[in-house]
């Protein structure tokens, strides 16, 4: 029997035993399962990374409205504001917010994006990873390592629960994306294995119960703006983890709590657009005007 890695605990001890970083252990594990070679994995990760960069590039300059007409120019507004007024954020944090909006606006235009882990949450991992890499001259190989680290976090969570708003609410989409992004960031910052896993735990723990209640049933409100929010959330988690602040609830138990929370959440709040924001007075008016 192969050595199975389906929990963060198993991941941590495998890394420790073999004295390898998470991305190497993750690659070894994938290769041991016989479906990919290391070359395939790195190539796939590079393709995703390139497509993420392309989506950001197009998203930064586009103001094309979404098919519903409800959004599409927020990234433009944010860039203009950052140019003319003083922000309390540093330049990398500003870039992260901008890139997250650029990507998620591309998504709602039915543009080409990378589902990471899902399309609704597509802005979070690329924004954190690519903005930090650009500002800190992180080589492409290291960016790929960070993306694989993020992928490993998502993979382990997905062993417990499906990463779909209809199954677990937004905690399973943007929440998991944020945990993945924080792990990638902590990896690039030179965090140790404990810090990387802990950053994912902290990010996840603080989005439990996040509902999926999209207005008019569209991946738009609140999804587009949620991407920059949870990108910054990932930074917060990484900062805490780098300070060796520990999640008192171990990460695997956080995942268990998340799974349970997803099950307890009413179907009205899981991508059915039958409750929450989707049933507010304004949402109902929007629905009448848009879905004619």
């Amino acid at each position: 029997m192969e050595n199975i890695i389906s929990t963060f605990r198993q991941l941590y001890y495998t890394c420790k035993e073999q004295n390898k970083p998470i991305y190497e252990t993750a690659i070894d594990y994938e290769v041991s399962r016989g479906e990919y070679t290391e070359y395939n994995l790195r190539l796939q990760a590079k393709k995703s990374l390139d497509a993420m960069k392309e989506a950001i590039k197009i998203g930064l300059t586009s103001t094309e409205p979404s098919p519903s007409g409800m959004s599409g120019n927020d990234c433009d507004k944010l860039q203009k504001s950052f140019k003319k007024s003083v922000s309390i954020l540093g330049s990398t944090a500003r870039k992260i917010m901008t890139y997250a909006l650029a990507t998620s606006e591309q998504n709602l235009r039915m543009g080409t994006i990378v589902a990471c882990p899902t399309a609704g949450s597509c802005g979070i991992v690329p924004a954190v990873l690519i903005a930090f890499a650009e500002d800190n001259n992180i080589a492409e190989g290291e960016q790929i390592n960070a993306l694989i680290t993020a992928g490993e976090v998502g993979r382990i969570v997905s062993n417990k629960m499906a990463l779909a708003g209809a199954v677990g609410g937004c905690q399973a989409e943007c929440g998991v994306a944020s945990a993945m992004a924080s792990a990638a960031l902590t990896q690039m910052r030179g965090g140790n294995i404990k810090q990387i896993i802990n950053s994912a735990a902290l990010a996840l723990k603080n989005v439990l119960g996040l509902t999926c209640d999209p207005v008019c049933g569209l991946v738009e409100i609140p999804c587009v703006k949620r991407n920059p929010f949870l990108a910054i959330h990932a930074v917060t988690a990484s900062e805490l983890a780098m300070a060796d602040i520990i999640s008192k609830i171990p990460v695997d138990e956080v995942v268990d709590a998340m799974e349970q929370t997803g099950k307890l959440m009413s179907p009205l709040l899981k991508e059915s657009s039958q409750g929450g924001l989707a049933k507010t007075k304004t949402a109902i008016i929007l629905e009448k005007n848009i879905l004619k």
Binding site: I113, A115, A172
Partner: protein, 222 residues
């Protein structure tokens, strides 16, 4: 049960806006297209639950149709698929239903034509999909393996004949799923394969007696 891979999590590159409702829909359509493997006179798409309630806004209808037409998940034509010459050349309609015994993101493809076939599937998250039923048989097709699908008469020896021919082609079987409508009646079998079978092998299994439907369904690219 197959565990998901890192690649499932950090891909696919796709047309937005929803992995389960857009990319998943395209992939369900692609797989159903490969299973049906003929030109139907008409297709009815039955969308259930979240697919029915939020499918329009997410382009689920566009995705399902694009998949049936053979477009990949990152095809730029998906956004305007209804206006493509490919779509205009076929008959189709959409129905929107609720059935809480079904998965939140469930669909039925009802193919009418020389061959009538109903294929059911679920979009289970992050663009991952599964076909659960073909006509009245339960199946387990996720598009991750090259798969041989058989519908055949339930008589002794069919499974061993088929697996022997695959063995002679030196291809390993990753999983095997069987079901039947009743003893001695119709049965179905899905065989997921590591690698590719030869044309000769496909001919040989297709020519076995007692077979009603034989399909070789290539794994989905993304």
């Amino acid at each position: 049960m197959r565990q998901s891979s890192i690649i499932d999590i950090i891909s696919p590159t796709m047309a937005g806006p929803s992995s389960s409702h857009t990319a998943g829909a395209v992939r369900l359509g692609l797989l159903a297209r490969n299973v049906y493997n003929a030109k139907p006179d008409k297709i009815v798409f039955k969308l259930y639950n979240s697919y029915a309630l939020t499918g329009k806004g997410h382009g689920t209808d566009k995705g399902l149709l694009a998949g049936i037409l053979g477009f990949s998940v990152d095809d730029k034509r998906i956004k305007h698929v209804f206006e493509t010459p490919e779509a205009k050349a076929i008959n189709y309609e959409f129905e929107y239903l609720e059935d809480f015994n079904r998965h939140p993101n469930a669909v039925d493809f009802i193919f009418e034509g020389g061959l009538n076939m109903t294929i059911s599937g679920d979009s289970i998250g992050a663009g991952e999909i599964i076909l659960t039923k073909i006509n009245r048989f339960s199946v387990n097709l996720d598009g991750k393996y090259n798969t041989l699908l058989f519908v055949y008469e339930d008589v002794p020896g069919v499974i061993s004949n088929v697996t022997r021919i695959i063995q002679e082609d030196n291809v390993n079987i990753a999983s095997l799923h069987c079901d039947r409508s009743g003893k001695g009646k119709d049965a179905s079998m899905c065989i997921c394969l590591d690698g590719e079978i030869s044309k000769q092998c496909l001919h040989t299994v297709s020519d076995l007696k007692n077979m009603y439907i034989v399909r070789y369904i290539k794994k989905l690219e993304s």
